[in-house]
């Protein structure tokens, strides 16, 4: 099956309407030397499309993806030309994942590196347990986003729901719109020059044209870093 796909000159096309997901992912885990791009047709919300990529290849998913699109991505550039289900680009290490539409819950969860761009809105817990990746959301993010985010950066061009940045460690969040509420230990901080530069760069990487100066910085107040009886901790 794979050889017949390769025969299509220039672009490799997988049609999930007629080919199993297993074949696609097995192909993507193989030797991709000389292959520039892979197109996935008729994804129809299939789960785990292009997971475990480990090569600098472009994958275009022409339609909606289910859970874990581009999960654990390394090096690849994956574009979902539609919406993405929960856990899109979860635990990404490097590379770039872009969702042209909306992303469901847990987008970019525990990503250690790379860039996740969501042009539309993101659901609950976007960037939960973020460990070093960058996330740019063109629209709004749902509640409990960046929960326990440890490192990395989130740029939210729209509004954020409840509990943004609860129990943050060293990750930094930038929000352009309204924040319904901050989570425990998250606080607004003044924007410095490095913040402006960071936001500017990430917006440029995401192809968005907002002004960096319109964003507010949110980071950890670090009162939960150490247990002590007097900090009115509720856990």
């Amino acid at each position: 099956m794979v050889s017949s796909v390769k025969a299509v000159k220039g672009a490799v096309v997988f049609d999930l309407a007629s080919q199993p997901l297993r074949d696609l992912n097995q192909f993507l885990h193989g030797d991709l030397q000389g292959i520039k791009g892979v197109t996935v047709e008729n994804p129809d919300g299939a789960h785990s499309i292009a997971v475990g990529m480990n090569a600098a290849v472009q994958v275009d998913i022409n339609g909606h993806a289910g859970y874990y699109a581009a999960g654990m991505n390394q090096h690849a550039s994956v574009v979902v030309h539609g919406n993405a289900g929960p856990g899109c680009a979860e635990n990404m290490m490097s590379g770039r994942v872009e969702v042209k539409g909306f992303a469901s819950g847990g987008a970019g969860a525990s990503a250690h590196g790379g860039l996740l761009v969501i042009q539309g809105d993101a659901g609950l817990r976007c960037g939960i347990s973020l460990k070093g990746g960058n996330i740019v959301v063109g629209g709004d993010v749902g509640s409990f986003s960046a929960f326990m985010a440890q490192a990395g950066t989130m740029v939210i061009c729209g509004d954020a729901g409840d509990g943004l940045g609860d129990s943050l460690y060293e990750a930094v969040l930038y929000v352009r719109g309204e924040v319904k509420s901050l989570g425990a230990d998250a606080r607004f901080e003044p924007m410095g020059d490095t913040d402006i530069a960071t936001v500017k760069q990430l917006l440029a990487d995401a192809g968005l044209s907002h002004k960096a100066s319109e964003f507010k910085r949110i980071a950890s107040a670090k009162t939960l870093y150490h247990w002590n009886a007097d900090s009115k901790q509720t856990y």
Partner: protein
């Protein structure tokens, strides 16, 4: 103060009363005093210390006239164990059914992780990573390494997923079902901090739920994702802390697990709230039976393997777990004790050196120590301290753990032969009786000398 030397006599009221309250005994009083002084729950290591029905409450019926025994030293008794036969292309093949439980680098030192890998490899069994990622030392020293996927996802990465021999999705832990991990600041060394992407020295609390899925239907999709990433090669284990075991095992099987790991409440921890350790979860004995019931109810016994952990200490414990229906066991605390945990001394270049003063410094003594959370382990097992960790030499540790595993496996095969089995996996419930009513009820094993299983057949 009176200078009279009769402390137990009070001339005006008669003898001094020393009647201890059952409810407010000296332990409870000291708990309340501690709580009042600190405003924070107590955190400690190891497992439940309370008395619980356990494998000690079961006995084997050795062969006699009605069963045929095997010669102890002459006739073969296999302990080979295969895990992950349901979907994985490359199941785990072990020489013994006794595996090393998941314990993190962070909780344990790198030397200890290396020692465990060496011992397990020599004995033909597996080791398991923990809530802190995979270290190069343990991958290199372990022939068969199970890689945990935990809620925290500290250090979790696709390269290590591909390097692993099996993946264990951890839902919970017997010491704290429903709770996340903890590592106090003194153990978050620069190397641990880097692996976990945390600032060095923070009191780390990890999440209790996975970040990218909620509930059993999602778990099924998550398992498929891991299978796709690993090209369906590696067995996927699902580990649960023992609570509603019957339902949890069914859900794990339904979600597509190759192997289910059930950890009873006696299971250890590196640092957990005492109230959690002692008051949440069910005993291992009850958990095994519920897990086996679930597999049998789904007709999945032998298709999905069961690993049992939580306070397993000896070859007899292993034999009882297997007879009740487990395929293998995992051991954590027993392994630590084999390494030297709670020992009076540690070995440096062949000589035993006393650790007593260091136990004293952290307010305990050998035989009672559960101070893993301090990171000041006097024998260098549960520490990240650069000096203390040297007290456990990997080769010494490896030899001790190998000896311990070997002893247990010999006890296991000895019992199996005595029960007339050529394979330890042929041990069966009919080989067991219970010596307490509680154990009989929990294990579903008849009380010795009777055919009575409490709760069965209407009474």
């Amino acid at each position: 103060m009176s200078t009279k030397s009769t402390p137990d006599a009070n001339p005006s009221q008669g003898p001094l009363s020393r009647e201890e309250s059952a409810g407010f005994n000296s332990q409870v009083i000291s708990y309340i005093q501690r709580a009042a002084a600190t405003g924070l729950y107590e955190i400690r290591g190891l497992g439940a210390k309370r008395h619980l029905p356990h494998f000690d409450d079961l006995l084997f019926l050795g062969a006699s006239l009605s069963r045929y025994a095997l010669e102890g030293y002459r006739e073969k008794c296999s302990s080979k164990t295969i895990l992950g036969t349901r979907f994985a292309k490359k199941p785990i093949e072990l020489e013994i059914p006794i595996t090393v439980a998941g314990m993190s680098f962070g909780a344990l030192s790198a030397n200890v992780k290396e020692a465990l890998g060496r011992a397990a490899t020599e004995m033909g069994t597996s080791t398991t990573t923990g809530d802190g990622g995979m270290t190069a030392e343990e991958r290199q020293s372990s022939k068969t390494l199970v890689y945990q996927c935990l809620p925290s996802r500290y250090g979790f990465n696709p390269d290590d997923v591909r390097r692993a021999d099996a993946i264990e999705i951890v839902i919970g832990q017997g010491a704290k079902p429903g709770g996340g991990g903890m590592l106090l600041g003194q153990k978050v060394s620069p190397r641990v901090a880097k692996m976990r992407t945390l600032p060095a020295g923070v009191d780390q609390r990890s999440a209790c739920r996975h970040p990218d899925w909620t509930g059993p239907d999602d778990l099924a999709i998550k398992i498929k994702e891991l299978r796709e990433i690993t090209d369906w090669e590696k067995p996927i284990y699902v580990k649960v802390g023992a609570t509603r075991v019957f339902h949890d095992v069914k859900l794990a099987v339904h979600a597509g697990a190759d192997v289910v790991v059930v950890d009873g409440m006696q299971g250890g921890t590196a640092a957990t709230q005492v109230a959690f350790i002692e008051h949440v979860g069910i005993p291992t004995l009850a958990a095994v039976r519920q897990a086996v019931d679930a597999l049998e109810d789904m007709n999945m016994k032998d298709q999905v393997q069961l690993i049992v952990s939580g306070g397993i200490r000896s070859g007899a414990d292993v034999a009882k777990a297997l007879a009740m229906g487990a395929d293998a066991v995992a051991i954590g605390q027993g392994i630590l004790i084999a390494l030297g945990c709670n020992s009076e001394s540690y070995v440096q270049k062949g000589s035993h050196l006393s650790a007593l003063a260091d136990y004293h410094k952290i307010g305990t003594a050998p035989g009672f120590c559960h101070h893993c959370q301090t990171g000041k382990c006097p024998v260098g097992v549960t520490t990240q301290d650069a000096i203390l960790e040297q007290r456990l030499e990997p080769l010494v540790g490896a030899q001790r753990v190998r000896n311990y595993l070997k002893t247990m496996n010999m006890e296991l095969t000895m019992i199996a032969r005595a029960c007339g089995k050529q394979d330890v996996h042929h041990l069966e419930r009919e080989d067991l009786v219970a010596v307490t009513v509680e154990a009989a009820a929990m294990a579903g094993i008849p009380l010795a000398g009777t055919s009575w299983v409490p709760g069965r057949h209407g009474y």
